[in-house]
Symmetry: C2
Subunit: 198 residues, 2 copies
């Protein structure tokens, strides 16, 4: 509807997740009146991403070097590995400041209907790490949804055979600050079955 590069820009922005046609137009006109240096910076960082982002050789987290910051950190406990689906989950766990071990990023969750089996995830790398390092505990921190639960079940089955290895799963239950009344029955059911003695 617009001419030339403006419409191209609106089209490309509209392809991004969560950016509808109205937002794409608003962002495009914002950029049209922005400092060209700002636009160039965004274009350059996109160019770098298109060339490929580096992932940690050990854990699969996004990284600047061959190893990510956490895997390079000598102070992190090497005997505990927290298994997550994506890099953003690493960040979520880090924000708790409760975890001093290391991570393993699977790169997704098992989803056979979408063609994601164990070979599409970084499962082999995880097993290799557990075999070579002296890992004593694997914390399964996949999402509490169908795919994440399926991945957790698969992991438990595979990891059961390692001698001396404890496999744990993040607790399910009521979210803190929430309201019991508004909890869905699945969450409340998990909170009940996972109740703790005080």
């Amino acid at each position: 509807m617009y001419e030339g590069v403006v419409q191209d820009l609106i089209d490309e922005l509209g392809r991004l997740p969560g950016v509808g046609p109205k937002s794409a137009q608003r962002i495009a006109f914002h950029l049209l009146s922005s400092d060209p240096a700002d636009i160039t910076r965004l274009a350059e960082v996109l160019g770098k991403v298109a060339e490929g982002v580096q992932f940690c050789e050990t854990c699969g987290n996004v990284a600047e070097q061959e190893q990510c910051r956490i895997c390079r950190d000598e102070r992190r406990e090497p005997h505990v590995i927290c298994v997550v689906e994506e890099s953003k989950d690493v960040l979520a766990v880090e924000r708790t400041r409760e975890f001093k071990g290391r991570y393993h990023v699977l790169g997704g969750a098992l989803d056979p209907l979408s063609g994601v089996g164990p070979d599409q995830l970084r499962m082999r790398e995880l097993l290799a790490r557990i075999s070579s390092d002296e890992v004593t505990e694997v914390i399964i921190a996949t999402d509490p949804n169908t795919e994440g639960e399926a991945t957790a079940t698969y992991l438990v089955r595979v990891l059961r055979d390692f001698p001396g290895l404890t496999v744990t799963r993040l607790a399910s239950g009521l979210p803190m600050g929430g309201d019991l009344e508004f909890a869905d029955e699945l969450t409340l059911g998990r909170a009940l079955s996972g109740r703790r003695a005080l």
Copy 2:
């Protein structure tokens, strides 16, 4: 919080209007798993926008050539000019399919507090067009808000001196499909004072 280029991407995306930190992260991780060709296309179009977008020499609309599509179109009535604030307003009027004249894009509205006076808008170009072309009507289609109304008032005062020129303003009133009960008092007042004989 992320390492390297991923955090740069999230930062740059987060600067766009309407894109908060969560959306920026979601878009960034979407791009990380996208086809590099798609990312490159977005980067390239941004690069073109940074180099500068062309505006129509006559009306100030975004254009691919020296003249925009509408100014090049011989079938458009040259005697009627619809004055709007932005290029997106041209598109809004075009969508009505009711207007067969030409446009003039001011590039904003008068807003002295933000330093936007007549010299910051394409006012001089408008007066030149009215003087040279045989313009018989100017339709003021600035936004019905404080700045738009101020701009309309200014235009009426300036254009009053042109002999044989009719100056009109878009009607204010109840939006179609709306509900009288929920109309704000300003809109309903305008609808009353602008009532038409049937």
